[in-house]
């Protein structure tokens, strides 16, 4: 296990807490009817998100999918804007036009969540092509779910990236289901990462995707490999979403036992225990971080609630660039 600076680790922990607290809060808001449409939560997948994103550098890029809250927060988006966006407000990240499925932060390398399964893959290889053509040394992380691996775009994009040796990490967050459909029922192999062989690129499984350090370490190694110009890599992480697929999912297709089993593997509890055990931080310090995170999230709700509704006229703006 590589050494991680204490500050870095504490920061990663904070980001995990932000994801957890933010999504728990959004879930409450959904239940109160304050959030239109569908919202997909990252609760339970904090390590898979933060461990990955923490390994890239400023200027690197990501594309994300419908379940993008975790990645956006890991990319350190402004929570006020994000909460306001989810509530459809004028001061939201997207001026209330995009919502949960379209959170983006272009200035900070987040090319956006996406409502189309597989929809971000083309963008990811294109962004990677730009980095290669302009020789920027930057890389792209293309995030998607287990279910997305059966879209044709996966095949085409990984293949194109492989022959052009594009600097992109294809990152599949395997939470075992695509809506109600177990990944095991829709692929005839054990894991999707094995498909890397079809493109002559490395593929790896991060078996314990709830272990922050395991994810981070594998990502660091992979980021280095990709940044050195060796072409793309396919990484797969096993984790689990605690909530239903979206804000409106009854969840009949999973047993309570399965969900409970995974809750025992809580990625936040585990890294917390690790840090205490290793003497990196005291329980009190860590709880303090949690309190701060919760306060920040409450703050974001206040910000969102006090943000104005977008004007009617604004609906007709931003269609075309000048």
């Amino acid at each position: 296990m590589a050494e991680i600076a204490k500050d870095k680790l504490l920061h990663m922990y904070k980001l995990m807490l932000d994801i957890r607290n933010f999504d728990n809060k959004v879930n409450q808001m959904v239940k109160k009817g304050k959030v239109p449409g569908m919202t997909h939560f990252s609760v339970g997948e904090e390590a898979a998100n933060v461990g990955a994103i923490a390994a890239i550098s400023h200027g690197d890029l990501i594309t994300s999918n419908h379940r993008g809250h975790g990645q956006s927060i890991a990319m350190e988006i402004d929570l006020n804007g994000m909460m306001a966006e989810i509530m459809g407000k004028a001061n939201g990240t997207c001026k209330g036009k995009g919502g949960s499925m379209h959170i983006a932060d272009l200035d900070n390398g987040n090319l956006g969540a996406n409502g189309i399964v597989g929809g971000g893959m083309g963008m990811a290889i294109g962004a990677a092509l730009t980095q290669k053509m302009k020789n920027t040394g930057k890389i792209v992380v293309c995030c998607f779910g287990d279910g997305a691996c059966n879209e044709g775009t996966f095949h085409e994009c990984v293949n194109l990236a492989s022959i052009w040796k594009l600097p992109v990490i294809f990152y599949s967050i395997n939470n075992k289901y695509g809506i109600s459909t177990p990944i095991s029922s829709v692929i005839n192999i054990e894991y999707n990462y094995l498909r890397a062989a079809s493109y002559g690129i490395p593929g790896y499984l991060i078996e314990d995707g709830n272990d922050l350090l395991a994810v981070y370490e594998k990502f660091q190694e992979t980021v280095k490999y990709v940044r050195e110009g060796n072409g793309p890599v396919l990484l797969e992480t096993l984790t689990y979403r605690w909530f239903g697929h979206s804000s409106s999912d009854p969840g009949k297709y999973r047993t309570k036992e399965e969900v409970d089993e995974w809750k025992k593997k809580d990625p936040i509890v585990r890294i917390k225990a690790y840090m205490i055990e290793k003497g990196i931080a005291t329980e009190a310090e860590l709880d303090e971080l949690d309190a701060t995170s919760k306060a920040t999230v409450e703050e974001s709700v206040k910000f969102a609630q006090s943000s104005p509704e977008p004007t009617f006229e604004s609906a007709f703006e931003d269609i075309f660039a000048d």
């Binding site: 239109p36 459809g88 209330g96 059966n150 695509g178 009617f312 609906a315």
Partner: protein, 333 residues
Amino acid sequence: MNNETKLMTVRDAIITAMSEEMRLDENVFLIGEDVGIFGGDFGTSVGMLEEFGKERVRDTPISENAISGAAIGAAMTGMRPIVDVTFMDFIVYMMDNIVNQAAKTRYMFGGKGQVPVVFRCAAGSGVGSAAQHSQSLESWFCHIPGLKVVAPGTPADVKGLLKAAVRDNNPVIFLEYKAQYNVKGEVPTDPNFVLPLGKAEIKKEGKDVTVVTYGRMLERVLQAAQEVEESDGVSVEVVDLRTLIPLDKEAILDSVKKTGRVLLVNDAHKTNGFIGEISAIISESDAFDYLDAPILRLAAEDVPIPYNHALENAMIPNVDRIKKNILNLVNKR
């Protein structure tokens, strides 16, 4: 055929129509993402897995191209698949199979073969899912010879026309509206209740103004018609197209000749939406001479559908705007 009806939602009308057809014809089956234990993204197949089993209520990977392709290949070889496209926006991944294959196969093969397949699409906005989950793309398919396009506006029509679509020997794009799955209405219970494709229905007779519409907008148009009749004494005729391809031109032109004034309403984007086609059909026909006012259109604004709920709703024709347009028309000339 009996004349009993039952109050049910659009969702139940869909489930009933599919289930009846599946009981009648073992070649009919349902295919799509999460149609099984989940009961469909919009609950439109709840209970069907239990009745028909996994072979006929077929959960798939997230592979829209393969789903549509498999459906077409099955249709060409004797089956009659119903595809649950879920959000109509995802049909982008099915375009080759629908447009280049299903629509053209019979023609290109000189009249050999047929492709009896239905693509059920949850169209339109209204559930806060933003621009990639809110489109009504019927006009794309109306533009392609070889496809039928159906867009009913009441639970009874949904049942009768979905059954007709399943029985039709051609590829049919069938529009449902995600905002209307819970809308209720009286629906004939007889399994022989099947409506013909290609027949519009005058949902309300009138003499001053014709409003031509279909699908999701019908409800609002009927309400607006009712209201202007009560408030302003304007007599509105409402032509519900129900089927866009084949189109019941006669019903439209007859009504226009009667009233001389026409408003067209749909929830798809205005530019190159299907009501533009209706306008053009009227203007090139002998009904043109009967027109006493410009042909007005009310459609979704030409903007990607925004997330904010108020804005989302404001992009779509509502009862007030329909009323205003009707009154405008009456006051012209």
